[in-house]
């Protein structure tokens, strides 16, 4: 069931994150070539690609831990606000990894509250203004509790990560990032190590966030959650993403006049159907999209022009899919 009758859509000019001509090399080996990507506020973008195609390299460039050798990543926290070039990790980009997402020495609520502490207070404040810090700490913990309860983790508030299941840990990890209200939430194969049922449960949780975006747009508010999820699972990408971007090394570089293969680039960028948590996906439509994605991004078949399947902005311009009421 395609939910293309969603009311308000992201204002397409409200770009949260932009990758401008990203090229990345490891020594002589070029890994990424000419990546241009703009992410609109409120989107859930799924980034897919075969193992070793450079997904993680691109994500690291966005996080700021490994800046690209050429090009820049730009983040804009609010619509119309100033933009800044990413040079190191910062609080405007939340990240959830597959592993090591939580601090093992903190309970669930402390893990979520720690970001508020680090962001809003300093070491001298915590040391020399202890009563004020204690009061603020209570507030932070209450905020953490509220968020965890909304993610159905109310019974795990005082549990340490080793006492939680993998799914619970990832949910706490998402809460830990979300409490900071980042401009964009980056998920690096977050559900890769989970069983099928837990995975599905967490995918639905992401769709709940998307539903909140929809709700916000209805009320003329900026959508609060913009997400970039890196995954190698195509079903997951199509199910949770309202847009799928694929990176691949299989593209016709010779056709563009390049003698040497310059690395992976974007070979697929399309709008996807949007599902709400209680909606059943259209599996027939999934299969068609998956086949195209597999051919283009994983097997490199039928590639003549790398822009052949990069049609997202034309689709937006034509008012297709969720952009219908733009």
């Amino acid at each position: 069931m395609k939910n293309d009758k969603e009311t308000a859509v992201p204002v397409t000019e409200d770009i949260v994150l932009e990758c401008r001509n990203i090229n990345h090399r490891f020594g002589d080996k070029q890994v990424l070539y000419n990546i241009d990507l703009k992410i609109i506020r409120g989107e859930i973008v799924a980034l897919v690609g075969a193992s070793g195609c450079g997904k993680s390299t691109l994500l690291r460039a966005i996080v700021g831990t490994h800046p690209p050798t050429e090009g820049e990543v730009v983040v804009k926290h609010s619509k119309g606000g100033p933009e800044h070039t990413v040079r190191r990790p910062g609080r405007d980009r939340g990240i959830v990894y597959q592993q090591y997402t939580l601090f093992p020495f903190l309970t669930a609520r402390e893990n979520v509250a720690v970001g508020l502490m680090l962001d809003q207070t300093s070491i001298p404040f915590r040391l020399f203004r202890y009563p004020a810090w204690r009061a603020l700490r209570k507030k932070h913990l209450a905020e953490a509790d509220e968020l965890l309860e909304s993610l159905k983790l109310g019974n795990a508030l005082n549990q340490y990560p080793h006492e939680m299941s993998g799914g619970m840990r990832q949910r706490v990890g998402i809460a830990q990032a979300l409490v900071m209200k980042p401009a964009i939430l980056l998920l690096d194969e977050p559900f890769g190590a989970l069983d099928e049922a837990t995975r599905e449960e967490l995918q639905k949780m992401l769709l709940t966030l998307y539903a909140k975006n929809t709700e916000a747009r209805k009320n003329n508010q900026p959508p609060p959650y913009t997400i970039l999820i890196v995954t190698h699972e195509l079903n997951e990408a199509i199910y949770v993403g309202d847009r799928v971007v694929a990176l691949s090394q299989h593209w016709d570089h010779a056709g563009t006049g390049l003698a040497r293969h310059p690395g992976a680039t974007v070979v697929y960028d399309r709008m996807m159907p949007v599902y709400l948590p209680d909606q059943t996906p259209d599996f027939g439509d999934f299969k068609t999209k998956k086949d195209v994605l597999r051919n283009v991004a994983f097997e490199g078949r039928f590639i003549t022009d790398r822009n052949e399947h990069v049609t997202f902005w034309q689709e937006v311009g034509a008012g297709e899919g969720w952009a219908k009421n733009r």
Partner: protein
């Protein structure tokens, strides 16, 4: 079967049995020795040992002090001060090396070399540099445990996954906060493990130094009484040292279990 578990009760019984066997063996050997030489003091009987203990805890006529109090105060204060400065230095150096690569390159080689020098062999150097008072003992213990401890801290810091650090940055942590609030807290239980392992060597350095230059302390008393073949005093002193080492180790283990239960689970 290899590693087949046994019940707690069985483990306790076996533990007690081993101690009783040891005590029984001692009684047997002491009995044989006293049959041959009734005035022997090298393997004292239980009654001789009781006299030795009495001598240790009674007020000495000459010094008007109880040996155990006098020696205990001297040895323990030296040991704690030495360990305190050693741990402090090791934490600072280990954190610097683990967090900042220039420090790793600068401090790594000398620490690796110093860790191989037994402080007891360098006793003369400490006499020359720090005299023969408490400062010398403290310096000896501190410099004795510091290289190994600093390397343990450094390795523990390096084991903190990069993702953890990146995550902390995205939560707004400054460099100092990252070291203090994230890295230090994560390595604390490992530091306790490392300190537990260094208690033994620290005691060896101290007792050896006290034996050579001390005028009070466990090492001094053991050397003096050994020369007089007064083993009824020496053995209780050894027992006190063993009990102290065991108590300290057990206390640190309990602290670790109470405050860092997440780590105890991880270690398992």
């Amino acid at each position: 079967m290899i590693r087949h578990p046994i019940s707690k009760k069985a483990a306790l019984v076996l533990g007690l049995l081993s101690i009783l066997t040891m005590l029984g063996f001692y009684t047997l050997v002491s009995g044989w020795q006293h049959k041959t030489n009734p005035d022997d003091t090298t393997i004292p009987t239980w009654s001789q040992l009781a006299d030795g203990v009495k001598q240790i805890v009674s007020v000495d006529e000459r010094s008007e002090e109880r040996w155990i109090v006098e020696d205990g105060e001297a040895t323990l204060s030296r040991l704690f001060l030495g360990l305190f400065f050693g741990v402090l230095g090791a934490v600072v150096l280990g954190l610097l090396m683990g967090c900042f690569t220039p420090f790793e390159s600068f401090l790594g080689p000398p620490l690796s070399l110093l860790a191989k020098v037994p402080p007891t062999a360098a006793l003369a150097v400490f006499f020359v540099l720090a005299g023969t008072d408490t400062r010398m003992y403290v310096a000896m213990i501190a410099f004795g445990v510091l290289p190994t401890l600093a390397q343990s801290v450094y390795l523990a810091v390096r084991e903190v996954p990069d993702e953890t650090l990146y995550k902390a940055y995205t939560l707004g942590a400054s460099q100092t906060e990252l070291i203090w609030n994230i890295i230090f807290r994560q390595i604390l239980p490992k530091l306790i493990d490392a300190v537990r392992l260094q208690i033994g060597p620290a005691m060896v350095y101290l007792i050896a130094a006290e034996m050579v230059v001390g005028d009070v302390g466990f090492g001094y008393r053991i050397r003096l009484q050994s020369r007089l073949l007064n083993m009824s005093v020496v053995y209780p002193y050894l027992a006190v040292l063993a009990a102290f080492g065991f108590a300290m180790d057990d206390m640190l283990r309990r602290v670790q279990r109470f405050f860092f239960r997440w780590y105890v689970h991880e270690k398992r």
